[in-house]
């Protein structure tokens, strides 16, 4: 990692979370392509989900690439920031996986279900469970739901919250796990193995985020052109084998 | 009772430099002896004394206790032998976080003496050294002489066969010394305890020792029986003992 701050005219600094699948690989892949365009892409790895937004907001970096739109929106709301989704890049369709059961209908009452604990995906998982009738949530909480918003759990599911990196690894400990797209490969699973999955048109689209004042910047424009090329599309498709999918044509 | 045969002890001072603290010393202490070891500071007296219970493992030579070479004993046997050999250290070596009472109790616990019996023994030992009133105190609140007396009480507690004393009265005033020496003499005679006493106090030698060895620079210079009127002392220190002994007799 390099120290941010020393941004030169033709340098584009993007913060990304190296722990999440998808963006880091893509950014590294396009680095030489941007070079050809005269842009020096610097990747600032930040192993967190708050700091990348802070850095964009306080102008330490030009943009970040790690989050999906709903998270960015709730972040804006909580922190009073005006971050914008500049470039839509990919989707990580998440799903419910199990090592113990083959069919979603086999899940017994009282089953243990693990969901990610980070705020960007915690509500997402709960909402998903609610949509598919496992639980009922308080009216209107939507994606910002927390465990406390569960108003009905007729089947007595036990919901445990884990780090998103843990969810796949703990498949042997739970009956059902909500695993974010990209992490299931850690235990040799793919999207097709999910008992239930988000559809690819879900709102959880991974975006390049930047400040409102910066979104029409020439460098961002060029970045968009490069990212939305067929070449990058092919790269995503072959690298992630359908577990992470490009959302542009 | 105690035989040292050609004991040698070499210390490494630093890389390449060694120091021969004991140079081939042999010694024979018989049962019931009160054997004094005297000599200059740094002569090797403490080191020699410490080889008797193998606190210092000699580099050469043999240590025999009651005829048995204790250097070849198994650990357990050695521990057992050591339980019958008490030692009073030059620097006392009391356990600082135990009270006076518990310090004296400690060797008894090791020897496996049951709790009920211990109390009596401890109180008796503390009364010998006149420290009954300090039983509950910790060593750090004791005067130098009081610490030494605790060390003496501790050594006496187990009723040992052999008592090794490294300057046992060095911190004591004449009267206390006198009473402790009288007690040592008494247990020597009544219980036939063998003692080896390192000391630089000629009075101590004169008053209770029957044999003396004079050490100098790691060797025994001479060895004699105190009652031997014929003996012609070689070293200054031996002359000091024997001459003074005569003087005192003249004055008695």
């Amino acid at each position: 990692a390099t120290n941010a701050g020393e941004v030169k005219g033709n340098t584009l600094v993007i913060a990304t979370n190296p722990s999440f699948n998808g963006f880091p690989e893509i950014l590294e892949y396009i680095q030489p392509k941007l070079k050809e365009q005269g842009i020096d892409l610097k990747i600032q790895f930040v192993n967190d989900i708050i700091q990348p937004n802070e850095l964009v907001n306080d102008k330490s970096v030009d943009a970040n690439a790690f989050q999906h739109i709903p998270y960015m929106e709730s972040y804006n709301k909580q922190h009073g920031t005006q971050l914008v989704a500049a470039i839509k890049v990919l989707a990580w369709p998440s799903g419910l996986y199990s090592n113990r059961y083959k069919n979603i209908n086999d899940i017994p009452d009282g089953a243990t279900i693990s969901i990610p604990q980070d705020p960007s995906n915690n509500g997402r998982a709960l909402d998903f469970l609610a949509q598919h009738g496992f639980i009922k949530l308080k009216e209107g909480v939507g994606l910002s739901a927390t465990k406390k918003d569960i108003i009905e759990n007729k089947r007595n599911f036990k919901i445990v919250e884990l780090d998103q990196g843990m969810s796949a690894k703990s498949l042997d400990d739970v009956d059902l796990a909500f695993i974010l797209g990209g992490y299931q490969t850690a235990v040799g699973l793919h999207l097709k193995d999910a008992l239930l999955a988000e559809d690819s048109t879900s709102e959880f689209i991974g975006v390049i985020t930047t400040r409102a004042d910066n979104q029409n910047d020439e460098k961002i424009e060029k970045l968009k052109t490069v990212l939305h090329s067929p070449d990058v599309k092919k790269f995503i498709e072959t690298t992630f084998e359908g577990d992470i999918i490009p959302v542009f044509e | 009772m105690i035989q040292l045969k050609n004991i040698k002890k070499i210390y490494k001072v630093k890389k390449g430099v060694t120091f021969e603290a004991i140079k081939s010393v042999s010694l024979n202490v018989e049962k019931g002896d009160i054997y004094g070891i005297i000599g200059f500071s740094g002569a090797g007296k403490s080191t020699l004394l410490r080889t008797i219970n193998l606190l210092e493992k000699p580099d050469e030579g043999e240590v025999l206790i009651e005829g048995k070479n204790i250097m070849t004993l198994k650990k357990k046997e050695l521990r057992h032998t050591r339980q019958s050999i008490s030692m009073i250290f030059q620097h006392f070596n009391l356990i600082h976080n135990k009270t006076v009472y518990d310090n004296v109790s400690f060797p008894l616990e090791i020897a496996g003496i049951p709790g009920v019996k211990r109390k009596n023994i401890i109180e008796e030992c503390l009364s010998i050294v006149q420290l009954e009133d300090k039983a509950d105190q910790y060593p750090s609140s004791l005067s130098g002489g009081q610490k030494q007396r605790v060390a003496i009480a501790r050594a006496l507690a187990t009723n040992p066969k052999i008592l090794l004393c490294d300057e046992p009265t060095s911190a004591l005033d004449p009267q206390t010394t006198e009473s402790i020496l009288a007690f040592l003499k008494k247990i020597n005679q009544e219980l036939n305890i063998t003692m080896v006493i390192v000391t630089h106090e000629m009075d101590v030698v004169r008053k209770i020792c029957n044999k003396v060895a004079v050490m100098e620079k790691g060797s025994i210079l001479e060895e004699f029986t105190l009652s031997d009127q014929q003996y012609d002392p070689k070293s200054e220190i031996a002359k000091l003992i024997l001459n003074k002994g005569k003087r005192m007799k003249l004055n008695a």
Partner: protein, 220 residues
Amino acid sequence: MLDNIIQQLPDIMEAAKETAIMVGISVASGIIFGIPLGTILFLTRKGQLLEQSYLFNLLNSFVNLVNAFPLLILIVAVIPFTRLLVGTSVGTVPAAVPLSIAIIPYFARLIEQSLVEVNKGVIEASISMGANIFQIVWKVMFVEARSGIVVSLSNIIILLISYSTIAGVVGAGGLGDFAVRNGYYRYQPDIMLATVFVMIVLVCVIQISGSRLARYLDKR
């Protein structure tokens, strides 16, 4: 702001309970395994009573190995073991397994160092009395080193309180995790402050009582 805190108070208390469970179990394992481990490390060192370079090197490497692991990786690495031991790898009690594994070698080092400080003359005196190793360790070394050991104990408890934060990844909960999740990630600075405040109070109580007890036990 105060409303928010009061509303969340039951959760903070729940988190405190989780911390207490994790720290309690780990400290117990630290005492049960760390003290013997540290003692054996000390005894088998070069020049010590049970000098045993093979065993020493083995244990020393083990201690270094565990101390080298970042806690998060340790947690993941011992999952199979945790599962074997408590049936599952998620939750508060399972989290105590990696925490224990992390703290045992660390505590062992502190114990080892405390024992080094014990006056050699006193140990010699007990050898001369024919004490066996167990007696020397139990009745002399631990007695002489006890105040240092108590201070080390309070140090590791404090360390564990903040360590246990990381156990949040396996759903262990606890104060640290609560502060991080609600305070940092969900951006409720008031909750974070309140939770950290509880942690500070805990730490102060432990440090001060540890240091009092140590001073009381030190009769040197």
